[in-house]
Subunit: 362 residues, 2 copies
């Protein structure tokens, strides 16, 4: 069985590392042959919207999936006629456009921050009047890791935001004064089986995920999140891993965005859950039984952004699992991560604090 994966980044690499022991083979499509997954599986070098390359990929494999969501839905839809594409491209289409995504959340009774479509300056003025300040002006498409966003904190920021982002379809969203950010990763198989990982609490710095702790044992929030994500899974007749990021405000969840794929906030599942998100994504798209999503202890995941910490020192840390994506160091680039596993949340939190301090002071 050979899986075609669009995108050969670290998510694709970890998918392959999870799938190879199951006897799966992989073929990637990416702009670069030396992308992280290209170091362990062959890569067709090409653009993600290149229909000929996608068709060629489709002829070589049994099934197509993707490791990021900025893939051309139109190009994928053409391939879909000849070979299964999972998760469904319809979920990809919704995830690619912040307006469609939030409209879907509303339709499915998933609370989400107030928002307005902004295609012209006048609409921005109206949106700011209606939704208020603070707010966030964002590009509707192709935003990730805090790119394509401008926080409007004062009336003076409105013009700067417009100048920074004008020319692209935009969305203005109410700024959510959240106490926490969290995410739920769910998997649903082609056979309809569903499983949910424990909720994780995520901390972003400059718009990029810095670290995650899981399980984040907030039972009432977890129930809310599972209800919301279940409706999304059923809506799409979904197959694969689906991640939804939420803001927490006064015990209530507001959906921020969804990712129809494995997710950075689920890296802790490699060592911290019985079955990783990567293995379960593959099981789900293949219609195999899902593995247990149960947590094995108290984990924290720290992203290595820009550069790695001192490898040999960190490898000397007990129950610390080190991941180097094989990427060149570069500012704001995710080049690796580590996960620590502890028997109690208190020990985990204390150790996370110490390691974050050490990493940031490098």
């Amino acid at each position: 069985m050979k899986i075609g994966v669009i995108g050969a980044g670290q998510l694709g690499r970890m998918l392959a590392l999870a799938g190879i022991p199951l006897g799966l083979r992989f073929l990637f499509l990416d702009r670069s042959a030396d992308a992280p997954a290209g170091q362990i599986a062959p890569v067709i070098v090409g653009e993600f919207e290149d229909k000929a390359k996608l068709a060629y990929l489709g002829r070589q494999v049994d099934l197509i999936t993707f490791d990021w969501e900025n893939v051309s839905v139109e190009a994928l839809s053409a391939v879909k006629a000849t070979i299964p594409v999972r998760p469904p491209p319809a979920a990809l289409a919704a995830a690619q456009d912040r307006v469609l995504e939030k409209a879907l959340f509303r339709e499915l009774r998933i609370p989400t921050p107030r928002f307005a479509v902004v295609d012209a300056h006048a609409e921005l003025t109206q949106a700011v009047t209606r939704i208020g300040i603070p707010g966030v002006l964002k590009t509707r498409r192709l935003g990730y890791d805090g790119k394509g966003q401008f926080v409007v904190r004062t009336a003076q920021d409105v013009e700067a935001a417009w100048e920074s982002l004008a020319g692209k379809p935009l969305i203005y969203e109410a700024f959510v004064d959240f106490s926490h950010e969290c995410s739920l990763i769910a998997v649903r198989s082609t056979a309809g089986a569903m499983a949910f990982y424990p909720l994780s609490a995520n901390t972003h710095v400059d718009g990029i995920l810095s670290h995650t702790v899981a399980p984040w044992a907030q039972r009432s929030l977890e129930r809310q999140a599972q209800g919301h994500v279940r409706r999304l899974l059923l809506h799409f007749d979904y197959a694969g891993a689906l991640t939804v990021e939420f803001f927490v405000v006064g015990g209530r969840l507001y959906a921020n965005e969804m990712a129809p794929r494995v997710h950075n906030s689920g890296h802790w599942t490699i060592e911290g859950a019985v079955t990783s998100q990567f293995e379960n994504h593959l099981r789900a798209i293949l219609g195999w039984p899902l593995g247990s999503t149960e947590a094995l202890g108290h984990t924290a995941m720290i992203n290595f952004i820009g550069s790695l910490p001192q490898r040999e020192k960190w490898l000397g840390e007990r129950n610390l699992f080190f991941h180097d994506y094989g990427k060149e160091p570069r500012p704001k680039r995710k080049v690796g991560h580590c996960t620590i596993l502890e028997r109690s949340a208190a020990r985990r939190d204390a150790r996370l604090k110490r390691l974050l301090k050490e990493y940031r002071g490098r």
Copy 2:
């Protein structure tokens, strides 16, 4: 950092799967490009004793290791002048010859079955007289998975054994009426740090490992085994994983053989220990800190020999970790394994019994 590995079998594949997350790259030397490890890393196709190919491998990598022990020590020694080869070829030389191996065990005060060198028919007669019947006539070199052995149970068997194996250097060993077989896997880093995995109990069928349970909590045996293996590690100024298989007779261990590498009886460490034997072998040969060898629960490993069980059914088993080596099914060939992880030895043993029955009845 690029690691050259001689042999691209399932052990090499699992080494690469453990090393890639650490940022390591791999290059293999094997007779076949489609060997299990060749499915995830490049392979130089050639014979293991091909000095030109070994020299070429040495020029491409930072360090050489091996995934099986039937490698030419002479050819390796030539490479060793230009690039580190770990574990030390001297350990390989001892492991390749049952007489040198047992002589070394004796020298290091490690009990071993009585044995005699057999190069001629007369020596066999003398050996049988001195050591007695039952005994086992074995080739000194290149035996594995029960190949190159003949059990002498009666006086009539002596001639048949001679006819079956004559022409090669042989060894006649006392047949050990053991209650159990077990193995200890140790790792020692170039910096001298040592760590020992819990003892595992191994069951062979027709000379091939069928299944392993670990930890096999026999404290007194574990202490004996650690003492013996520590002496071997120090003797060779060893770096890497070293496995020693023992027979258990009345509370005493008799060393059967050693393998200067990761070992089939340590596959349970992938999911059943904090750090797998594969990752620790790499940490050890690179001089990195060793990871914890602590067990996470009660595991059993079942080898899939000849063919795999029904994948989808077995994937539906809770806490069962499935490994498919990507090999064509063939009688007596190890094509995969699975590990189960349980909270108690009793649950583990009951489940192992059920799964073995199901696998054998396939």
